[in-house]
Point group: none
DNA sequence: ACATTTTTGCTTGACTTTGCGCAAAACTAT
DNA sequence: ATAGTTTTGCGCAAAGTCAAGCAAAAATGT
């Protein structure tokens, strides 16, 4: 069997990407060619930026990055740019000595990436959120209570009891649906209860929502429109602005 | 089989991150190479800031980098097999309808890997522990309160208040030192307070400790010997058995 | 079919990595 | 402290790896 140069490049690439690394000797044997050829190939692929040449062989280009992250973050792909801009804007609103509640959920998770105020205090009911907060060196508290599988959010009566003593200056909440009549809605009744109390105990509650959330209704309402300011990327209907304060973030 | 330098780095990193520490000898044997090479690798990874080199081996960077704990956390890595057996035994003690408290810490983290009883209820003050529990599909609660940086444990008055209403049937606790006179000790006063209350509210509190923990004393005592049963791999001194119930797990 | 260009494989000298021995340094226990 | 053990860093020789040069083989163009 004879391989074209391009085919060999492809083979080398797939081997290295699949296994993350390979030695010159391995590749030479696998592709049934000399080590000199493999070296030349690796040099070429390295110059193309397709792999990283190292002493003894080569590794895939993204060797050291990523690997271990929450399954929560895997779901963050949708509306990534929009959520990022909303998050960036919200983070800029946090001032010294603010007492901030951060709701569990993917949109608010993004928010934490942009927070840099070390002088505020943060409370969350999201396990992943709590970890992110302390890994950024921020003062973080977590609500106690039952853990909901999948979303890794703390819910239940204990969480609500925990919330009752707290008086947040700002709260950043996620939502599944925003509707003129039904208000802010979410499919899970336990999460809704926690959201409801968190909003009531906050001086300034904000809802972080990209434009796809509007005109959607889920089973449980946790707040009416007028109770929260909405931070969004685009408003599909001006009727909403007569009901509450809305900030449109430009992308 | 020949390993690329980068692959060896990756292996070392994953081993150290998984068990928090490893000795030069262990790594040399596991990776089938000489101790000299491992030392050179550890020096390189240390300079890259990926791990922390300590006398005898290396520890993961995220762990208790605080002052006097370095040697202890290396020991924790050293005693990997022993801790695994202790954890396996403890997991087998959990029965249906048990109400179980799991202390934060590396020893108890291992315990969760072996838990399979879906009919018990679990409470923990460790953020990482909480995630592990729900990812195994178990019913899990987390204490609320302030998050301690680095160890990701929930501590403080809120955590203690949360504990007061709970009556655990079993509690699995870690410790840094076990001593005839000073009892069970740990270097952190906030974590000690939480441990103390958790033990008091438990019907059967267990201490998971490999044999290196004996005859060591740290700054804060959180319980006396007679308050807890000890699960260990080897008892260095029979005097301890006159003070409390001790189960020796065979390796 | 023939000359030209490209690719391949091998050799060589330079360079890197590895494993071992040993003296110095670090840790432990008394 | 002091003696004993373990670990460490360094030099060095052996083994492994590399890029460059060169000639044979293969592909290409006329």
């Amino acid at each position: 069997m004879k391989l074209l140069t391009q085919e060999r490049y492809q083979s080398i690439l797939s081997i290295i990407n699949e296994r993350n690394a390979a030695t010159v000797a391995e590749l030479a044997q696998m592709l049934n060619t000399s080590e000199s050829t493999i070296r030349r190939d690796l040099t070429a692929l390295d110059e193309m930026g397709k792999i990283k040449k190292v002493y003894g062989g080569a590794t895939s280009i993204s060797q050291n990055s990523g690997s271990f992250e929450d399954n929560v973050s895997l779901r963050e792909g949708l509306m990534f740019e929009e959520k990022t801009e909303i998050a960036r804007y919200c983070a800029s609103m946090i001032n010294d000595s603010d007492f901030v509640y951060i709701d569990a959920g993917t949109t608010t998770s993004r928010l934490i990436d942009f927070i840099d105020n070390q002088n505020a205090t943060y409370v969350t009911n999201g396990i992943a959120h709590a970890r992110k907060l302390i890994q950024k060196g921020l003062t973080a508290y977590v609500l106690g209570g039952k853990l909901k599988p999948l979303t890794e959010a703390v819910v239940g009566t204990e969480a609500i009891a925990n919330l009752h003593n707290l008086n947040f200056s700002k709260a950043f909440m996620g939502t599944n649906g925003i509707d003129l009549k039904s208000g802010f809605t979410t499919p899970d009744i336990e999460e809704a209860s926690v959201k409801e109390v968190a909003i009531k105990t906050s001086y300034m509650p904000f809802i972080l929502a990209d434009h796809t959330k509007f005109r959607r209704v889920f089973s449980v309402t946790f707040a009416q429109l007028r109770q929260c300011c909405i931070i969004t990327d685009a408003l599909p209907d001006s009727k909403f602005s007569s009901e509450t304060v809305i900030k449109e973030v430009k992308i």
